[in-house]
Amino acid sequence: MSALKSIKRWFIDPQFARKKEFLRSLDIFKELHDRDLGCLVSALHSRTYREGEVVFVEGDIGRALFVLESGSVKLTRPSDGPRPEILYELRPGDFFGEMALLESLPRTATATATEKCHLHLLYKSKLDTLLHSEPRIGVTIMRHLARLLSARLRRMNAEPKLSAAAND
């Protein structure tokens, strides 16, 4: 039994297994099967960003989804004041830039690493390839993006009504 375990340990890549477990813990990928997660790990690129390093700038054309594995990233937008307005601070397990997977349009905010962080990138054409070769992965991601988009639209629709009610 221990010999079998040793052989398995000799064959199984622990780094790969760790990445797979990390992806499984994310809401966007939680419905994927083990094999699908393996394909997804192979399709991802990874990069480490230093503190203060810019991930992308508002106005840049977006072409990838970013998944934050460790560290933190802030999303900012220029403001009237001397400092940019912080829209959101992302924590490990968060993902951002997802709309680039749907269409290559300019980014609406600037993303900057606030400490040393490790990011996984899913490039648009990799997702397109997965949509054709592994439709289950593509459909799962796309369904999640559609739900996310719908939720944001509902929130945007509700916000003016809420502020109008508060003013009354």
């Binding site: 790990v41 991930v55 840049d60 977006g62 300019p106």
Partner: protein
């Protein structure tokens, strides 16, 4: 400031590409085995990735793959040993006769042409030399051309050896490149990599299918026609297919010449020519549609131009890599245009129906 920074990657990519091309032109002989090994690893990489996606270690997979390939190769050699040995012996005995016969035929045809030209013999010979001198010299020098290919045979061992290390590294090189790339341009770098990957992957994997099909079909076709050295001719036709249009020409020339020598009739050579033309037609009509997604979608004249330029600049290696290099250039232009169009707002606008309220 921002604008000029955004245009930087395009210029930088072309500058780096130009510098790499210049370095390659200087060092292409030394780089040949590395380039071929990279192509070899690139073709096999998806197979390793498929198993790696199941969570297996890359090193173990590559080592086991090589051991399995070696066992398969030894098994195939044991099974085909008698055929390979007899083919080699037959070719060794007949090769000098083939070559001298070819040279004699060329010389005889040259004499015949000189006689038929309505000019004094010396002037006719001069006129013929100036008109066909290059072609005749090429035919007469076929033995030395064949010998000049011998160094490439050494690559048969060197390419899998270097390819082993490329396969072990896998996507490591790309990941290191991404890490070195200025953070803001990572997405653009990935865009370029993705386009080049599509072009190279499609071309090289399609090529492997075509080479295998031509080798197998021509071998059985030649055996059916009763041509000696069928394995040798099929191997030449298959391997030559890495250069577009060259496989058909080599099959017709080498196979036709050997058939004409073996049977002593022009009809035998015509049968071999018909076989290879038939294979080409079958490849175009049956195989190419299946592997259509593997094509580069480039015009035939562009391919031909790339081949001429590649062959004239880098010789044999240039012929092999001319078409994928042209494909990469096309990808570079496409990516540059995409960047330009996106920055200038020339890309597609929002989808139809965007104005309808959310319900």
């Amino acid at each position: 400031m921002t604008k000029s920074r955004r245009e930087f990657p395009v210029v930088a990519v072309f500058l780096v590409g130009g510098a790499a091309l210049f370095a390659f032109s200087r060092l292409h002989h030394a780089l040949a085995p590395f380039l071929l090994a990279a192509a070899f690893a690139y073709v096999l990489n998806p197979l390793v990735n498929r198993f790696e996606a199941r969570g297996l270690r890359r090193t173990q997979l590559v080592v086991m793959g090589y051991l399995a390939a070696a066992a398969l190769g030894l098994g195939a050699y044991a099974g085909l040993k008698s055929l390979i040995v007899s083919e080699t012996e037959l070719f060794q005995t007949r090769a000098p006769a083939y070559l001298s016969q070819l040279q004699k035929t060329v010389y005889a045809q040259q004499k015949e042409l000189v006689k038929r030209l309505p000019l004094p013999p010396q002037e006719a010979e001069q006129a013929l030399q100036s008109a066909l001198g290059g072609a005749i010299a090429v035919l007469q020098n076929i033995p030395s051309h064949l010998l000049s290919l011998l160094p490439f045979l050494a690559h048969l061992l060197l390419v899998p050896f270097i390819g082993f290390f490329f396969l072990l590294d896998g996507p490591g090189g790309v990941e290191r490149g991404i890490q070195l790339c200025p953070s803001r341009y990572v997405e653009q770098a990935l865009h370029l990599l993705s386009e080049v990957d599509t072009v190279l992957g499609n071309y090289l994997r399609g090529l492997v299918i075509v080479v295998t099909v031509i080798f197998v079909v021509s071998f059985f076709g030649l055996v059916a026609l009763g041509i000696d050295n069928a394995l040798f001719i099929a191997a030449i036709a298959g391997v030559s297919s890495v250069v577009p249009y060259f496989g058909l020409a080599m099959g017709v020339l080498v196979g036709g010449a050997m058939a004409a020598y073996q049977f002593g009739t022009f009809l035998a050579a015509m049968q071999v020519a018909a076989l290879f033309i038939g294979i080409r037609i079958v490849e175009e009509t049956l195989i190419q549609p299946i592997i259509a997604r593997h094509s580069l979608h480039m015009h035939a004249m562009t391919n031909l131009f790339a081949l001429i330029v590649g062959g004239a600049t880098f010789g044999f290696l240039g012929l092999v890599f001319a078409v994928p290099a042209a494909g990469i250039l096309k990808a570079l232009v496409s990516v540059t245009w995409s960047w330009y169009a996106s920055e200038r707002g020339l890309a597609l606008g929002p989808a139809d129906g965007a104005a309808v309220p959310y319900t």
